[in-house]
Symmetry: C2
Subunit: 418 residues, 2 copies
């Protein structure tokens, strides 16, 4: 299945010209229509800006209808049209005077479309985007693609970015459309890209002092009664470090907290859902003000929690952690470390009892320091540190946890992940 995303500016001035794609010529007024024909694209998604809205409009629906009319009159309707909350001049602005809703809107809706359509080939045509659009739309769609790839364990999804030689009137072409980037993305590459923004030196401060403030304010404003106790910057960084070092057991044991946190973030982004757009707009003196603050880090968090939630789906069995290491390690080094540790545990199989028992005890250590892991060993052994890991037989498999139901070492693990 092939999908093409295209951010566009104002189509009013798009003239019929000749585009050349892969040696064939197409006469049309939009480059994405030429690409769609040339590559037999199954679904085309066009992101137009809400600022194309007719100046007479005084509400969102009027704007939406006028943009739809303006675009379809010029470009037809052989595509899905999504209208994004863009900033434009001083006429369309965010109340915080930042430019974040466009990115968040495109990330959130593209991810939904990718999940619904499960493409193997994804294209972006940046030709008709203006100003910040090619950059922000591309980055937002990339983030959605990475999330989709990890969630679907789809190695080798093709992401190609097309651009036409700039069309200058009255020259009718032919203008060559060619890719500026093209790659088959792997799960590892996608995973590392999603983790990357969290590795900045001040990212944790930003998440804590900026992003979570917005999140808590939004919850308060909507008087939503959700448990936020476990959804905070510290928890986010436990997840980041667990994913980075392949400590999958932590994710498995925390899956309900991950899902709870994801739900909170998802509720904020859901306001940007195209089918149910809930961002309030103020129409004042010919200006349109988006009455919402959503930093783009909310999309980063959403993506992180989506993949953490997906990876954490498994059970706390050695065989399933083996699978996770094969599929979701950030490097071969991390993968082989975990596989080595699992082999070591399997060698002790006969000594593993039916009820949760500290790994150190199984190894014959007399007075182990329960719940007192050595940080370096915890990280260097894929999370199977002997003073915090409990093992027991479960059928043919070996089960593993950071608690035996009595003594809970997960707090100690978190200390070292922080």
């Amino acid at each position: 299945m092939k999908i093409l995303f295209a951010p566009i500016g104002d189509p009013t001035g798009y003239d019929d010209v000749t585009y050349s794609v892969k040696g064939k010529e197409y006469n049309t007024n939009a480059s994405f229509l030429a690409i769609s024909q040339a590559l037999n694209i199954d679904k085309v998604v066009v992101y137009a800006g809400l600022s194309l809205c007719d100046t007479n409009c005084n509400d969102y629906n009027c704007c939406r209808n006028s943009v739809t009319q303006k675009v379809t009159q010029k470009l037809g309707n052989k595509f899905d049209l999504l209208i994004a909350p863009n900033v434009f001049s001083t006429r369309f602005i965010q109340k915080d005077r930042k430019n974040t809703l466009y990115f968040n809107f495109i990330y959130f809706n593209s991810l939904k479309i990718l999940e619904e359509n499960k493409p193997d080939e994804i294209y972006i045509d940046i030709t008709h985007g203006i100003n910040y659009m090619p950059l922000l739309a591309t980055d937002a769609i990339r983030l959605a693609v990475y999330t989709y790839i990890v969630e679907n364990k789809k190695n080798g999804v093709n992401l190609t970015i097309y651009d036409s030689e700039p069309v200058i009137k009255p020259n009718k072409g032919p203008y060559t459309i060619d890719n500026i980037y093209s790659e088959k993305i792997t799960v590892r590459q996608a995973l590392l890209s999603i983790l990357s923004p969290f590795l900045s030196s001040e990212s944790k401060n930003v998440i804590k002092n900026k992003v979570f403030k917005v999140i808590y304010n939004s919850l308060k404003a909507n008087s939503e009664d959700v448990n936020t106790s476990s959804c905070n910057a510290d928890f986010i960084y436990y997840i980041v470090n667990a994913l980075s070092a392949g400590i999958f057991l932590y994710l498995i044991l925390k899956k309900s907290d991950i899902n709870n946190c994801l739900n909170i973030i998802d509720n904020i982004l859901r306001k940007l859902s195209f089918n149910n757009f809930a961002v309030q707009l103020k129409f004042e003196d010919g200006k349109v003000i988006y009455d919402e603050n959503i930093p783009i880090e909310i999309s980063y968090l959403h993506s992180l929690l989506r993949i953490a939630s997906h990876i954490a789906q498994g059970n706390n069995k050695i065989s399933e952690i083996h699978e996770m290491a094969e599929n979701y390690s950030t490097s071969d080094s991390v993968k082989y470390v975990i596989l080595n540790e699992i082999d070591k545990i399997k060698k002790e199989k006969d000594k593993i009892p039916n009820s949760p028992t500290l790994y150190a005890k199984i190894l014959g250590i007399d007075s182990p320091s329960v719940c007192s892991a050595d940080k370096r060993n915890l990280i260097a052994h894929g999370g199977f540190e002997q003073n915090v890991t409990f093992l027991w037989k479960c059928g043919e498999d070996i089960c593993v946890s950071y608690t035996d139901g009595n003594c809970n070492c997960i707090g100690n693990v978190e200390e070292h992940l922080g």
Copy 2:
């Protein structure tokens, strides 16, 4: 030191408007001039396109002079002006009809400028870029920034991307300029970003069948007599995998091959050096054709080899590999695995002789399989696999190699890195 990069389109139409940066207002015709004042920028670098060239020109120097005149007449000269080989309409095209020189030019020259100025704060203003410029310039400058950060071990360099609310005539503003991205980049983040393109599933094929063909053709065309035997796609992937898994010893032992390969790639990109621009241009029937094929992967390779060359500078001593693990590991997991292995080696210090001796022998294994590593163990132990690693005392330190001068195991290591 603060530096600001700004890609621009045609400045002819830039009118004086009011820009607002961090609450202060500036009356000027270029957003980067407002940012420069507001943030006390030390150096501003403007990337204009060669396609601004006067239509009467018939050679590069005439173009360059006419672009310089056009830009400085409108925007003054309080900045360094670099003229980039952009594609524009069907008037300025590459002979392969692709769009790669702009990216390569901005990567190569930005890296040079970063190295000369050693900034702690780096800004990009995408406001005035048109079409593909904001996307490609941002990506190219990002790659240069990552390379600069690893080469200078500069944790926490600030990269901020600014954009103005789009200026629409005759509205005089004030237009808010704000950042759309901002982060303090760490060495680890930079390293992972540089490795990322090499993790795609078909990247090795592309490097082998597309990129190295261009490289070899370029060498032939210039009848350069360089030894290319060790500079090939296989070697590139040994480097990628060694960096990813923290097998720093491999890089140290291969430093001369790395530098040789870097030199080959650098020679190609050097044609794009602003001070010594050597890409041939054909002026034909009012068209300008760039007579050069340089895929953007050449910049990826250049960046990879630059950081590999930097990291490989050390000596093959345990203490230096310890340092490398602290500074250049792709995850804490990789770092702690290496530190653990080094501790294990140090514990054997008394048994380590003065001449290179196989690690397996030192560990008391009777008939070790010399040069026959187990892949998983090689990767999972930071490269210190007992059947390929030779150790000997050197002063207070311990030296390490994959050869004892007689038996050379580096080929076996490469088999597992491939």
